[in-house]
């Protein structure tokens, strides 16, 4: 059982079937060709990738928690928002931006572990309904705490990557967008390295897949799950900090991002980290392109379209692009 977990060395065998991978390659080629042909296509694709990277970061956090504890954490966005406010407070205390960034990640880890221990662990084995309600209660509580401490008016943080804009053949790339994209991809790679090549990662995967067996070989399952929540909170903090420049700092800043992140996680497969990233980027680009080329799809329909995608995925391939089929044994 543990040996089974070790065998999966590459992302490809995690669950991405051949048709899905071929489809993704075809999509990438389509995007490249389109960008070369039309400037506006390229601009929309770049903007879509940047937005999608933010969806992907939060979706990654959702997937991490779902893989570890089978909980859909409705409070993930609010946790991300709260940690962003903590970074804001640090900058108010004259801590430089990047130092505040890394300090916030550390604080976020501890907050994630605490939330797991205090709120989730006692109810982990209850019904789905109970868990949903608890995370919803957490959502509202965190929203209230942030509003209580900092107020709900708009606040602004310094821009993380500076304001330079690069131009290449009629298309403009802002340093901000490129930075967000890089940070998200870096998080995924780091996470993958953690899971594939470290003993901690192995133990975490074992605790998620086969908790009873893992406990028998000495894995401290509860701690592994807590660390999973901690890491998810860190990813959420990254997502929040990357979102702030475009959404400004307000308690509702992550609420719409969370919704797109759900769609992204389902599209990629609720159990697949790589899937969530692909899903996020895909949704970001898809929304922009469909908004550009289909007149009916005005800005009000962005959310409904993302959710139509979610519903279609749930109806036809509920395990998502990279998920594995689950058979219910009776």
């Amino acid at each position: 059982m543990v040996a089974f977990a070790v065998k999966r060395k590459t992302k490809v065998s995690t669950g991405g079937s051949l048709p899905v991978l071929l489809g993704l390659v075809a999509a990438a080629v389509f995007l490249a060709v389109g960008s070369l042909v039309s400037n506006i296509f390229a601009q929309q694709t770049v903007a879509g990738l940047a937005q999608g990277a933010i969806f992907a970061s939060l979706a990654l956090a959702l997937v991490l928690i779902y893989r570890a504890t089978e909980v859909i954490n409705f409070a993930q966005g609010e946790m991300a928002m709260a940690t962003t406010y903590i970074a804001y407070q640090l900058t108010l205390w004259h801590v430089t931006y990047w130092l505040a960034f890394f300090l916030t990640l550390v604080i976020a880890f501890f907050l994630g572990v605490v939330v797991y221990g205090v709120v989730i662990r006692p109810v982990q084995h209850r019904s789905v309904i109970a868990l949903v309600i608890i995370t919803v209660g957490l959502f509202i509580l965190i929203d209230g705490l942030v509003t209580w401490k900092w107020g709900a008016d708009l606040k602004f943080m310094p821009a993380p990557f500076g304001n330079q804009v690069y131009h290449a053949g009629g298309v403009s790339f802002s340093r901000q967008d490129l930075g967000v994209l890089l940070v998200s991809i870096l998080s995924v790679i780091l996470l993958w390295v953690l899971f594939q090549f470290t003993r901690l990662g192995l133990a975490m995967r074992a605790a998620a897949l086969r908790p009873a067996a893992a406990a028998l070989v000495g894995v401290r399952v509860d701690w592994m799950l807590a660390i999973g929540w901690g890491l998810a909170a860190v990813l959420g903090a990254v997502a929040g900090l990357m979102t702030e420049p475009s959404q400004f700092l307000q308690p509702t800043m992550m609420q719409s991002i969370l919704l797109y992140a759900f769609a992204a996680a389902v599209l990629g497969g609720l159990e697949s980290p790589a899937g969530s990233v692909v899903g996020g980027l895909a949704i970001g680009v898809f929304l922009n392109l469909i908004g550009q080329y289909w007149g009916f799809a005005t800005a009000e329909l962005r959310l409904p379209i993302a959710f139509v995608v979610l519903l279609v995925v749930l109806l036809f391939k509920p395990t998502g692009l990279f998920g594995r089929k689950q058979v219910r044994r009776v």
């Binding site: 506006i40 601009q43 929309q44 903007a47 937005q51 509003t147 107020g151 709900a152 008016d153 708009l154 602004f156 310094p158 821009a159 304001n163 330079q164 804009v165 131009h167 298309v171 403009s172 802002s174 901000q176 967008d177 420049p245 475009s246 959404q247 400004f248 307000q250 509702t252 800043m253 922009n288 908004g291 550009q292 005005t298 800005a299 009000e300 962005r302």
Partner: protein, 418 residues
Amino acid sequence: MGKQAKISAVLVGIAAVATVAVSAASAAPQATPGVTAKTIHVGGTFPLTGVASAYKTIPAAESAYFAYVNAHGGVNGRKIDFTVVDDAYNPAETVPAVQKLVEQDKVFALFGSLGTATSLATWGYTNQHKVPQVFLASGDAYWGFCAHKACAGSPKPYTIGWQPDYASEGRMYGKYIAANIPNAKIGILFQNDAFGKNYITGMQQGLGAKKSEIVDTEGFAATDTTVTQQVLALKAKGANVYFIAATPAQAIAALVTATKIGWAPTTFLANVSNIRPFLLVAASNGANLDGLISSSYLPNWNQQNLPGMKLVKSIVGTYAPDLSSDLAQGDSNIVYGMAVAWTFVYALEHAGKNPTRASLETALHSMNTSKNPFVYPGLVIKTSRTDNFPIEQLIMTKWSGGASGGMLGVGKLQNTGR
């Protein structure tokens, strides 16, 4: 099935009795609601939180001015008691908030409430209950037209605005473009509600024969903070003139996004958003402010030594020191708040020794003064039975001085009336 039903009933009974007792104790009918021998109680709804919270300094400034007036004898011996309620710029929250102010707090009048959609959601209710809805912080042309004409079903004589209406502002920009920018291709980014649409109507009127120069209009919802898709569309249509009809948060996004996608058109900004601290945030995120065109009815950035501006500074220093840093950055919302509050005191003073809602309404419709210290020098505030627009003058402004500059006046005050 016995005991729990009993306990439920007892709990509900206690709750009901408590509510009855509390409300009976607080109910006290008054001759003129909100006016006692010593106080005049008014209330207003403002976006203290949420996307439009850039305007939260307005009620703070108004409260500071009222505190100043109260400290100097009040209005005919009565102090003004101003209740500020947060509605987060959300009409769904404004409606219950106004109901509470009118039915529970029993205010004399609603003063200064901010927002176009929020006011349209409540003006039916206030006019039905004959509650004066005074000096809305909104420039919808309706507030001027509908005192005696039926709008949305009935005339609204109890509602009056203050600032120059948005359609007139749009008209002024349209005339300017028609006269000064040949071969203009205009792209309008607008908040997709009555607020934003006012500007489009006005600009079309101002352009006249050149109306077709508007190549694209892109709307966004009041709660959106990203407008990337819309700005990309405007650039794609080839616009070289950019009109931003938005509140400060989206105005920042609109300006920054334009720079990020490498678009540098001639930009017009609705004057509800030419608030210096917020434009500076846009600049620090990469927007280029020099050459940004807007308008104003308040003193400019380089008119800090006017007696009115000095008065603002001293009132803030004494009664609202929290606003000092905003004021130092040039937050014109504070000046706006004091200008409106001054006008309200002026109207109250002309409403007789013992004001009633009727006498306030008469005073509001016979204003004529150029003595408001907080508005642009020479601006006249005037109303009559047939003229429900208190201010119908604007001066064009342009930003200069980069990240340490401000909006400076161009030319003279223009009449924007019809």
